[in-house]
Amino acid sequence: MSGPFVSLVMRDLRLASRSGGSAALALAFFALVATLVPLGVGANLNLLARIAGGVLWVGAVLAALLSLDRLYQGDFDDGSLDLIALSPLSLEQVALAKLLAHWFSTGLPLTLLSPLLALLFGLPGPGTWALFVSLLIGTPAVSAVGAIGASLTLSLKRGGLILPLIILPLLAPAVIFGAGAVTAALDHLSNGALGLLSAFAAAAVLLSPFAAAACVRLNLAG
């Protein structure tokens, strides 16, 4: 099934990178938030370094959220989802393909950009490294939890508005452990948060395709 699976991932990546796509939008949003916070807080580098982990993590989650509501809705609105559902792929495989495409087009670029934005906060090397690693581990969980919300709201005309209300509470562990990992690195403490973040991400990515597929089934029958 690798052919159909890969072709679906590639199509979603292509759509995300084209005009009207969401990849550049999410990156720009993340960069703007990260630029505005130091401007608002002022040039207190100690304070900025302390809050960097939390602010950048929340910024990354919100940026990823921007592109989530179209994950299924675009395909549902124009009938593509019907055709995809009839393909040789099971809906679970479809959900996994969409999750991967969302992470490659949003989570991964956000992670790669984060060390640059950490400079604006005067985050020291170990803290920047912890931020980078925590985002690398944690953004798949953001895509996974987000995909469940997106599949649940795919037939709602204004699903984008209700989506954050559904998934942001569920992402609290990712933000707590992710930002916690950065703080722990600043304080030279041993970093248990990364382990907990990994466990959360693994569980989210494993369960998400099944939950999302169930939601898509429900919506196709609606």
Partner: protein, 204 residues
């Protein structure tokens, strides 16, 4: 290969609203079936039911193939070529790109050019889909059917938005599909333009 599709006492309920009840019919390979009925009689619901998107409130659907009988909705979906009333076309993608994606998604290897030529949009291959007219999008949908290699075609208003030549083309494609052992079930208000049995839906 598909042998036949049998529906027995199908009842469809959406929400609390009964759509149709106790519908029985049988279609054999090589046959076309036209589903007729007033607006809201449940033509699209019947097609979505056959495709496995909806489950019947009661009754059963069996698709007989040369590899045995299929009763599961999602398994039945693997034999279905779908042309819905949404165009399923992404404005940002080229015509060729769109069809190539679909062909690979359905595990069909091979060039999409013959299919594009068959439906008369080969010249638009490099054109972004946002520039296509509604009729051309429908033709792209027909090309997708050809590429799908599926035995049972479910067509919802196949003639909508097509010009006279396009209608003749759609009828030709259906005729050719039936002639090669395929099966066509079409919901339409227009005459199909080929020999077909008809199924009249009446509100429950």
């Amino acid at each position: 290969m598909i042998v036949s599709l049998t529906a027995e006492k199908l009842t469809c309920v959406r929400g609390d609203r009964p759509i149709f009840a106790d519908l029985s019919f049988q279609v054999a390979a090589g046959e076309a079936l036209v589903v007729e009925g007033a607006n809201g009689a449940g033509k699209t619901s019947l097609l979505r039911l056959i495709a496995g998107f909806l489950t019947p409130a009661s009754g059963g659907l069996v698709l007989n193939t040369d590899q045995g009988a299929i009763t599961d909705g999602e398994e039945r979906g693997r034999h279905i070529g779908w042309l819905g009333h949404h165009d399923a076309v992404k404005p940002q993608m080229d015509v060729g790109e769109q069809l190539e994606f679909f062909a690979r998604l359905y595990g069909a290897n091979g060039d999409v050019k013959p299919a594009l030529e068959r439906v008369g949009i080969a010249r638009q291959r490099e054109l972004p889909c946002r520039y296509l007219s509604a009729g051309q999008k429908k033709r792209l949908g027909l090309a997708r059917l050809l590429m799908s290699g599926r035995g049972l075609w479910l067509l919802d208003e196949p003639f909508a938005a097509l010009d006279t030549a396009g209608r003749a083309l759609a009828a030709d494609l259906m005729r050719a599909h039936c002639a090669t052992g395929g099966m066509v079930i079409a919901a339409t208000h227009d005459p199909l333009g080929l020999e077909a049995r008809s199924l009249k839906l009446e509100a429950a």
